[in-house]
Amino acid sequence: MHPKPFAAAALIAGAALLSTPAYAQSSDDIAALRRDMETLRQDYQSRITDLEARLAAAEAEAAAAHAAADALQAANTSTADDPIQVAEQAPADIAPPAPVSTNPNIYNPGISVALNGFYTAARNETGEETIAGFALGDETGRPSRGFSAGETELSFAANIDPFLAGFMAFSLGNEGEAEVEEAYIRTTALPGGLTLKAGRFLSGIGYLNERHAHDWSFSDAPLPYRAFLGNQLGDVGLQARWIAPTNQYLEFGAEALQGEGFPAAGSDNNGVGTYTLFARTGSDINLSSSYLASISYLHSSAQDRDSNGDLFTGDTDLGILSLVYKWAPGGNPLVRNLTLVGEYFHGTDDGAFNGAPFQQAHDGWYAQGVYQFMPQWSVGLRYSALHSESVDGALLGSVLDDGGHDPFDITALLEYDTSEFGRFRVQYARDESNTDPNDVLTLQYTVIYGPHGAHRY
């Protein structure tokens, strides 16, 4: 850009020197010379202006082209026809680093809310159900008849530093009472596939236990979870998990827990300890199907555990076998998919019930299938059953005496999802968990909002 204006300036300067001879030949000549010079000056001035204008235009064009390239990544005109040129310029298109935010909220945790609403219609009263042959923990019943807001869950998740992550979940019950469901720290940087967790958390035993209620396939827990674990086992303590470095998924876990959660203590928090062990394995069977199998063991000790006025002191041993099978054609669950879950529970109680020494074994199982037959629509069916060893002597007529009735229920489900985050359900249950059968119709909505939830297996 410089040479031409400089040359013009030199010319003008030179001409100006020429135009100031000390002795002009005549005033006319001088005037003519001045006119010529003025013409020349104007001519160059206009050329310079023209050049400057063209330069500005070229610069604007280049800037516009760059902006367009930014917006469209590579304009599909001239550059698109020349791959090499595009390739050469491509690194320049690397996105600039995001501007540093001064927003103090950027370190806020991911906050997620799950809202739940029920309408329950039933032949008999619901909410305080008993299960023949079992002493139950708290809150193992269904929602009471009529409208109820169910459990509203509020959770906070974030990395704490490069080594730890934290998670906390509150649930607000139907009457507005708040309860801490989980509040734990978890390691994120231990080597060798090891993860430790400390605080209050849902135990890793079984398949459903670790899932929050809004993540279950049916609106309530199957009978074995209600009877053996008081819906699900959450407690305070430590957990260690290790994943083997193998192509076959292989995970081992162990927990030492305070024993606040059923079956150790239940309502009065007098537990003296719960220990669990679990192992899982799983794999793809083919492109469309996969499985997860696990075996879990729990040992707990209770001292004066109070279940609706019945006191239990002693040990509980529980084993759980779980099998999950999932199918989605071509690995795409969006249109159709099927999930089958089956779990078998075997537990023994050994100690004193209301002061009377006893030993009793219980069995339970459930099998459920949920089939999504078209996008957004699914149907489900679940069968749960329990069996308790008969008791004698002082325990006859107590809650541990099933009176010869093996509890079972059968549940059918129709579900419509507005999206991944919104769900409506109609569920019908024939409940024969005690000698007074019940028919229960449940309408439910569940919505989840906040950060994108994870697609758990």
Binding site: P83, K326, N332, A454
Partner: protein
């Protein structure tokens, strides 16, 4: 009980094969990045593809097989830009593999090497399943493979310094072959320039930009939200005033909306591979684009 557990553990550990030895175990979220990793790494990488062609990369679950493969990965090569937000962070967490969590060099996101299109000014779930960082489907424009391959070679060199030179050399060789292929593709695709089309899902802005095609309408009212009959009627009206040559959809997408439009408006549907393995012809990184252009030209009747 404890003895049973122990025996089961020993038995399973014995059955499970230990992974083959390579300098870098690569966990590829999508097959195109797995193929690119092989181009860059050759024998020095052992690539596991977490998804296959014909599978929707948004909808993956944290299956046991993915967790175990993530456990031993030195690097995860993924699209990023929230495409895998629903499963990759969970898999990284559950696998206990600290190398591939967000912020570590072992998580390579291809979208970090490319300027993204359609970055929304605001995001709200009422708008459907939007990606806050921009449209992540960058592999539909093969020109993006150049900056991504350069960034990937750099990342591999950082993670495996002993073979840094090999990665750079292989990348340069790939770039030469890729540029030749780009010229070939653009010559073949010349008749597609200026063609108006409809799309099933907003998966294609990069490809449309590359080939100079125009998207008139999408068969999804909002990203990730299935079309209602009422919305498809609106689409038909739009197509009356702004006709299109064909509707394109990815191999994994539900064909019903496209079939509906095909029956009513007689607009053919063109199924594109979207990634390697999406169609029988898309067998590798190069044939992915060969097959894409062949299918688009077939949509024009050429």
């Amino acid at each position: 009980m404890k003895q049973i557990l122990f025996a089961a553990a020993v038995g399973l550990a014995a059955i499970a094969a230990t992974p083959a030895h390579a300098d870098l175990n690569v966990f590829a979220c999508e097959p195109e990045w797995g193929a690119l990793a092989t181009e860059i790494g050759g024998d020095h990488v052992d690539v596991y593809n977490a998804t296959v062609g014909g599978q929707d990369p948004h909808q993956v679950q944290a299956r046991p097989s993915l967790i175990s493969r993530a456990r031993t990965a030195n690097v995860a090569v993924c699209t990023g830009a929230e495409l895998e937000v629903a499963w990759l962070p969970l898999i990284a967490q559950q696998s206990g593999n600290r190398r591939i969590v967000a912020g570590q060099p072992g998580l390579f996101e291809a979208t970090s090497a490319v300027r993204l299109l359609e970055r929304p000014a605001s995001v709200d779930r009422s708008q459907g399943d939007l990606h806050a960082g921009g449209n992540p489907h960058i592999q539909t424009d093969p020109r993006n493979m150049i900056p991504v391959s350069r960034a990937m070679a750099q990342r591999f060199a950082q993670l495996d310094a002993a073979n840094a030179q090999t990665y750079q050399t292989r990348q340069a060789d790939f770039e030469r072959r890729w540029n030749a292929a780009l010229t070939r593709w653009q010559q073949r695709a010349a008749p597609l320039r200026g063609v108006s089309i409809a799309v099933q899902h907003h998966s294609w802005p990069y490809m449309l930009n590359w080939l100079g095609m125009t998207e008139v309408v999408a068969l999804e009212p909002r990203p990730g939200v299935p079309a209602s009959a009422g919305y498809l009627a609106q689409v038909l009206q739009t197509l009356n005033t702004r006709p299109v040559r064909f509707v394109i959809r990815a191999a994994y997408e539900d064909p019903r909306s496209g079939d509906f439009i095909n029956q009513r408006a007689h607009v053919p549907a063109v199924t594109l591979p979207f990634t390697i393995g999406g169609t029988p012809g898309a067998t590798n990184l190069f044939t992915l684009y060969d097959d894409t252009i062949t299918r688009l030209l077939a949509g024009l009747g050429q």
